[in-house]
Symmetry: C2
Subunit: 277 residues, 2 copies
Amino acid sequence: MQDNYCYFNQQILPFSELSLRFNDLSILRGFGIFDYLRTYQGIPFRIRHYLQRFSNSAQSLELQLPISQEAIEELIEELLFLRVEKSDDVGIRLLLTGGYSSDSVHSEIPNLFIGIEHLHTFKPELYSEGIKVITYSHQRYIPEIKSTSYLPVYATAKKLREAQAQDLLYHSSGKISECTRSNFFMIRGNTLITPKDGVLMGITRHTILELAKDYLEIEERDVSIEELSQADECFKTSSSQLIVPVVQIDDRLINQGKVGAKTFQIQKLFAQYTSQV
Amino acid sequence: MQDNYCYFNQQILPFSELSLRFNDLSILRGFGIFDYLRTYQGIPFRIRHYLQRFSNSAQSLELQLPISQEAIEELIEELLFLRVEKSDDVGIRLLLTGGYSSDSVHSEIPNLFIGIEHLHTFKPELYSEGIKVITYSHQRYIPEIKSTSYLPVYATAKKLREAQAQDLLYHSSGKISECTRSNFFMIRGNTLITPKDGVLMGITRHTILELAKDYLEIEERDVSIEELSQADECFKTSSSQLIVPVVQIDDRLINQGKVGAKTFQIQKLFAQYTSQV
């Protein structure tokens, strides 16, 4: 990990010099929210969208942001200016924790961290060959809030290994929602379909819907688990992995296990869009 | 908070000198397990039970404990010897986090923390007057594992304030399970009833069942939410708060809103038991 300058409670220091004491409620009680965006050509992508979502998450949990969205935006500019490799794009992590607690349960003052991270690189096959997901009965708690609660990712590690799958597709009461850290889409004919309720409103999801609407019909609605059998193509989206084709769900191959033409087209549209921001 | 000596990854230092970097998965992803026990007369209460549960939680999530249960027991002895106020009883916190991650998702090496904490004191009214709980539809994810996932505690803060209630009683598919950080019991006639499935196996719960079996019939079984209306008395148990009477559930008073005689008797049995260990 590059030792980029980061921000924590009014201090700007290299990442390795910042830390949390053990009575922070994110550590003790999983009480924290975050957000994650990245730069393209050095410019934070849709930063106001991310900051607004971060602020909304905080407000929903009655966590008071210690500084304004504008101040956070300025801090991010400063951290980007200080970054180690100026030519590389980076990830930007915003983290607001429940704060230090004297009784291990309650706290009054949240802790704010802003980190600059190198972008994790993924194998080209992730995008050209796609992945397998397995369906998993689970509903994320308050999914519209970007909380740090990701325990199912770890509790299912063995299950994923055994199924040789790369991610879970959550479903509950017969309806699918999202993957562990990404939104899920299916294409049927000329229609792009994605769940609307019970999911995180991804900024990449939003961008895809904007870009695709000139080419495909868009349906944001409940999707039953049975409907997956009618999918011609599937993919999932996130700010870090972008658009990842899903070519197998449980034992069923999608598009005979190959990445479909429309998914490639959407990847291309997104790449064009982010190369021009 | 007293600055007691604590243990973190092979170091014994005052609490204030130990900290976690921000790429630990407990902070980023809520990936951590813990346990909490306390001393009575300076002796850790049922320490082997707690260590075994801690070890089981770790194993279930494929987290490798860096040292053996015996080594942890020895470290606890050492930390107790070093504690600031030798005459006071203390809490002992064990925490095993997902570990430092270079990609914000994966890690190989968990981080182990052992903390010595002053005991939080509760008002005598908590025990003499009891509390109100409100029912809340939720099933803790993998409840048998003592994970650090407690987001509902914080997401429901407003709801609890508005209801003037002190805790949630979770229910799912018509059955009650547990409170946010404690096991739930009801007494009907001469029978003590508590859920068995979908709950954390509390050590205090276990101790209460042992102590009460000479006085009451014990039923560990599913409890429907409707059955609460037949309760003569209710209480909840935890290692930190011990036995807390529940005298109101939603709008319904239990035992006319007074702590019942059998609950007082169980509090007394537990106090006697812990004064003799």
